[in-house]
Symmetry: D2
Subunit: 309 residues, 4 copies
């Protein structure tokens, strides 16, 4: 194996959504020779304006890049971009490294990695964690699956996107660990929902419950900003209920495949399904609290009611 | 209502277990005129040695105290100590304040409060959160239910036990909020168990998973010390599986009574029941990870295996 | 032990609700010398009209009876009637047999049995299964806990109420087995709800689903009449959602106590809590289907829509 | 649309497993001109011996048949057989009818139906319910999705396999309804497991519990033969735990897609995952009772212990 040298490195970026656009812009700012692509043409505009090359297809990106990053919504999108028509594999440079930073099915990730390997390239699954604000600052957390030497060879690129890189194991291990970590986020939200509504029905205002939790050993950054979202349901979505449903679906499938029972996750997933069915799909997944509230026959207190003591 | 003046204040403390003994000792150190009692005679020895008055019954404590604190394992113990034979009510001073700091059924708490009120006293439910180390330092967190003026009248006492006091509402609100908060602790542990074992079966060592979680937005003090416990199952128990089962039982009963569905809590409670049935009752409730591990047919990696990369 | 002779037998019946009144009337028709009592005076009217003795209290019933049957809503009612003021124990005849046919907490049942034994009587827990129609015909199913010889001594009485008597074990075993059996009823209903609404959302009318189920290996009398209820939600309640919630509460408490995890029951119980919170408490517990339907965002098809193909 | 005339009809059968071989043999006995295929060559031997034509590939079957039936383990197998190399579509006769009787993903079923339609054929999804014994007698229950006229055109064939045919709706409706019905079977088993082990721990022998259930309104043919399996765990598997896990996986995916929460099914699925992980995959899914029993710390009573009273 001989990964390309950083000096010569041209980087391609496919998928310019909410997270991807920030991550790609970090790379542009860092001075990499960048080519971008998104199937929604408008998404590339700010990059064209900044002098970044805009490709016409994933294959076009691949033909111009030593390192190609994909950041797209789901397994099907990764398969289409890499294996599909005018896909990355159509014009992969020898020794090129494909880094998929999406959160997808580990099986699909391994399948794509095998196809890339067969074509003489390298693949890493390198999903990211963190908010849009952290993406903007290049401070995401990255979990990597794949050959450690390949991971080292692109560390300079990854370090413009994230401040923390953890190598989890061979291909698929990054995707697997990302899903495992998402269990904790998903269940913490479900816990907050059950906790806050239970206290609320017992006469304790959500603001007081959030205050106690935020000053307890249970307080995490996640708890703090989600608790805010729970008190202000009109706040913009950070991670939508529909995205959580997709991730829970992947977790449950993976858990069945590797043979690990995840009973609390299974139930939390059903509550997320309820939230989607009740119309909260595009809102932040803090909406699960609204589901529990609705199911307890509780009318949401208006803002004036929730003032702390 | 005329709560007694702090100056004249004699304090009684009933229940000298792992937490209670530290809390009582803080009061002794603070210079309060203290009387203690525990049904296990040996538990009072260190107090006698320190010059603290040791009473012969809860009634004996009450006859000597303006403020009486109870810190015992469950609802039945509180009922017995206050309402039972030679109980607190037998010799309650007029205007005395009973502060129950145990985690118990809010219904029992309200019932005891009514009985105390009828006898001319005041009652607060004031359960505590925090570790034994925090108890030793008088740095617990206290949630109070009851009359705010009564709460204010004993603030000097409470501040020797805890550094943070939150008034949650009328009698029973403290007990209710404590149970609601425990949902988050119980489900976070269940989430860690499912997450770590799922990643483990996918080939990622627990140490790597814990490392990623501990450096994510999900990291809380709780996650950090429980994660350590998950990696070192022989570490001494901080909160036993049997205690978690008791608390989950109270949560589920309360949720049914006030009409709030708590589906993830209900399932986590069943996993805790599995843990008790499998013999982990006296161990830290991090044992739920062993249950998930056993149920996934996974053999626990030996310590040498779990070294980080 | 010397149970009274059947010949001399006078029977008392306490609790003349929907089931109790039918059961008591069967005994009256069978020619037993009957005394009845219900705390709602009007409930005794039809019995008075039929020449049955109406007592003024449970104690009054006991003073006139060799066999006393209780059929009341919950554990607290049984405790009050037997152990309370003017209760059965106040005037229990030596050797009298108390048969509690309510569905209650096995612990309470054992506690009452011990009190009865101490007073020189005998106690059986003998909960019944079956519909109001079966109660009317004396065709209920009876599960008995207690001394087999005592059970034999009152078999003539029991056989006027039920056509099938199963001895389950010592005191408490009848109550325990009844709760265990109720798991199957509760979960079958939950299964029907999930099945029918899932098919409905996939475009299959409930009537078709019910038709297939009713002609499958899964068809039971229960499935048949509950399926009808699922298609006709305005049908009168056979067993209310509130009653199911009470029973599930007892099941879950018992399961925790004896150390058996019942995860599916725990979740079904939460759905029943949702049903109660959404206002279906007084309706048949077939209402859980309405909960699942509501949570799937599905509007119930009007009757015209559900016609079979 | 002009389905072929019954008179001219040649029937092909692909998939000669435990169920398929019995179903195909029924068609042979009924005098249809039959061609069979199974990728395991030995499976065709009894048919060759009986004078049935054995084809060399699915395409070979299709080239000889007006009606082609597939009865295989999963969605992937159906896709491979119909759409894959040397698949049914390679030599589909104009107007031929493909009947897939497997239990598969409704999405895959619809996708295959579209491909068949494009090639000028017709497709029905027609999964079956019933035991091997019923398959032998041609007494299965068949749920059909697809064009009703196509269904009518093959009714003579279907009636040799099943005694009851229900048309559920358009393509995919048969597969969907089959999955919905399987919820009831899966949850009934879970209910039996929880019920029997709970009673067992409370001191009631499984034989007594089964006896009471078998004589209650809950008694169905399913309950009766599964109860027997629960008492005799060495009895041969009727439906394996691994098959149940596959079906639950399909149910949960479908439920997420159509937006119906199925919380009890989700939890029962996790118990089935536990059963697979604990090594019961190839045994009857009555093994979930062993999981609950293991998790309650209960040692299975030996046969001598379970004798009825």
């Amino acid at each position: 194996m001989s990964p390309v040298q950083p000096a010569a490195r041209a980087v391609g970026f496919i998928g310019l959504g909410r997270m991807g656009s920030r991550m790609a812009m970090s790379l542009a700012r860092a001075g990499f020779s960048l080519t971008v692509y998104d199937r929604v043409v408008d998404s590339s505009r700010p990059f064209a304006a900044a002098g970044v090359t805009v490709a016409s297809s994933p294959a076009d990106v691949a033909s111009r890049s030593d390192v190609i990053i994909t950041m797209v919504p789901d397994s099907a999108a990764v398969e289409a971009i890499v294996l599909g028509e005018s896909g990355v594999l159509d014009s992969l440079r020898p020794g090129a490294v494909l880094i998929d930073m999406s959160t997808i099915d580990p099986n699909v990730s391994r399948k794509v990695a095998a196809a890339v390997r067969e074509r003489g390239g390298h693949m890493l699954d390198a999903p990211v964690s963190g908010s849009i604000a952290l993406a903007e600052q290049g401070q995401l957390s990255i979990i990597v699956g794949g050959d450690p030497a390949v991971c080292d060879s692109v560390r300079d690129v990854l370090l413009k996107i994230g401040s923390r890189i953890t190598h989890a194991g061979p291909n698929g291990a990054g995707a697997s660990l990302k899903l495992a970590v998402n269990i904790v986020g998903g269940l913490t939200m479900q816990a907050l929902a059950e906790s806050i509504v239970l206290a609320e029905r017992a006469g304790v205002s959500p603001a007081v419950t959030v205050d106690v939790l935020s000053n307890s050993a249970l307080a995490s950054p996640f708890l703090k900003y989600k608790a805010a979202q729970l008190l202000e349901p009109l706040a913009p979505a950070a991670f939508t209920t529909a995205m959580m449903q997709k991730d829970f679906g992947l977790v449950l499938q993976m858990a069945r495949e590797v043979g690990v029972p995840v009973p609390a996750t299974a139930v939390a997933s059903e509550v997320v399904t309820m939230a989607c069915a009740l119309g909260f799909g595009a809102q932040d997944f803090a909406a699960v609290a609204e589901v529990i509230r609705t199911l307890s026959g509780t009318v949401r207190p208006t803002k004036a009611d929730t003032g702390n003591e």
